[in-house]
Amino acid sequence: MSSEALAVPAPYQVNFAHYRRRQAVNLAAFFLTGVCAAVTIGILLFILGYIAYHGFSSLNWDFFTKLPKPVGELGGGMANAIVGTFKLLGLATFVGVPIGFLGGVYLSEFGHNKIGFMVRYAADILNGVPSIVMGIFAYTVVVLPMGHFSALAGGFALGVMMIPIAVRSTEEFLKVVPHSVREAGFALGLPEWKVILFIVIPTATRGLITGILLDLSRVAGETAPLLFTAFSNRFWAEGWMEPIASLPVMVFTYAISPYDDWHRQSWAAALVLMMMVLVTGLTARILLRERN
């Protein structure tokens, strides 16, 4: 009798089955997200490991010092492609960074308005335009008038790709300069342009260099925009007006070739390219961490 009187009426009873089901869903769902993370990291480690394994076993001194051998002959290297990649990236920096830098200065210092918003929007959209389209653009602007492929066209294509990235990274790294620093300049009676040019930008130098490194690491592995601008070259390219070899294009042409020795060299080239991209990216990150 008494226990019945104390019993909780049905609507207010804890439904343990329901509760356990909710707990089970909770556990299962979060377990699955852990699986997702594990799969992702697994894929990354597999890719890095696979490239390291095949790359290091294919890499030799010739790779860095010799020119490619003609079809059918074993051995040879990609010295010209390594130098070519550096030349192209140098030219790209020359084209992309000044424009992107000055644009970024505007966004950071004066861009808290509608124009600033629109420029950011446009830069982000331009950043998403496929690299192959940038290649066509460089083809129509540089290759067609000149009548032949050239290092200049390849560097131009990569440089154009760098502009929207450089705009955004410059803005980001200038913005972190504290307001007090600017105000100190104003307090001395300096005009705004002098404050920006001689105080804000020097203060942010480390960040700006980090930004340029990150920009470079983004375009360093690009292949598509080089296919019909820089093209390729089995010999040393003199100056800027000749077609020039680059590591990404060599990885591609050697990978789809039917020769085993070329496949071996493709792995070596992929490893060197990856190292370049990762070392640049890591250097940038270390610079960033030291600042913080």
Partner: protein
């Protein structure tokens, strides 16, 4: 504020000019693509977009097989990358301790740093043999491309969604928890709805990447301009046909047709990225208002 001297005016306007060059550049790219594709525009008109025949010998060009291949391979990639990427984002946001989360987040971003052509290389020598064993007659094909693309776009979904989740106000989540919701229920009923448009933004951004991805796809999709409904069959994409045939194109019409394919790709990615960024900005603003 000090009075504006000529130096300030000059400096501001010079930097303004350079930042406006982004618009000029975008317009210039569009104009060059448009100007250099007038031959196929005159000859084929809009039917270029839905003609199925691609025959360089007879100089008949229709872009439908490439448009089809681009869309199908990108959607396949999304079908794999969206659940996986969101899973990673949720794991990093809800479960992982900060230190481990940062390491995993960094490694996920590293996936985006691997050059496209290196993905292609892995695809050719690792994934293609696997696919051949799995029943794809050639190994190369639509599904192979979709899988490679999925890995390539996954970091965009994971890292951006994670950032978007962080904008969800803690008070909203806490009020759900105080009502007895499990963590998953908080995620499902508060975090995800609140960050829905931002997550959609990250998905569109990833879609934009997938649509224009060139090298890896070129190396594993098989490069056959036919529309086959089996995902194991070879296909072709817009970016891949440009990469493969541009330097081999012998006639002006052929080159200009490929440039026109580029123009279509340019227009599509501008629209997709425009939507993506709009959605992402919208969440950023919403967070400022609520927080």
């Amino acid at each position: 504020m000090n009075s504006k001297g000529w130096g300030d005016v000059l400096f501001k306007n010079v930097t303004l000019l350079f930042s406006l060059s982004i618009f000029a550049l975008t317009a210039w790219i569009g104009w060059e693509l448009f100007k250099n594709s007038h031959l196929p525009m005159e000859k084929f008109g809009w039917s270029f977009l839905w003609d199925q025949v691609w025959d360089p010998v007879k100089e008949e060009y229709g872009a439908l097989p490439f448009i089809y291949g681009t869309i199908v391979s990108s959607l396949l990639a999304l079908a794999i990358a969206v659940p996986l990427g969101l899973g990673v984002a949720i794991f990093l946001y809800e479960l992982a301790p900060p230190r481990i989360g940062n390491v995993i987040g960094f490694l996920t971003e590293l996936l985006a740093a691997i050059p496209s052509v290196v993905y292609g290389l892995i695809g050719v020598f690792v994934l293609v043999p696997i696919m051949r064993n799995a029943g794809a007659p050639y190994g190369v094909g639509m599904l192979t491309a979709g899988i490679i693309l999925a890995v390539m776009i996954l970091p965009f979904i994971a890292t951006i969604s994670r950032e978007i989740f962080k904008t969800v106000p803690q008070t909203l989540k806490e009020s759900a928890m105080s009502l007895g919701a499990t963590r998953w229920e908080v995620l499902w009923m508060i975090t995800l709805p609140f960050s829905f448009s931002g997550v959609m933004g990250s998905i569109f951004l990833a879609l934009g990447r997938a649509l224009g991805e060139t090298m890896a796809v070129t190396m594993v999709i098989g490069n056959r301009p036919e529309i086959k409904f089996s995902l194991f069959e070879p296909g072709y994409t817009m970016a891949a046909v440009i990469a493969n045939e541009f330097t081999e194109a012998t006639s002006d019409l052929y080159v200009q047709t490929l440039i026109q394919v580029g123009l279509v790709l340019f227009a599509i990615t501008i629209i997709v990225n425009g939507i993506a960024r709009y959605l992402i900005y919208k969440v950023a603003k919403q967070a400022e208002v609520v927080a």
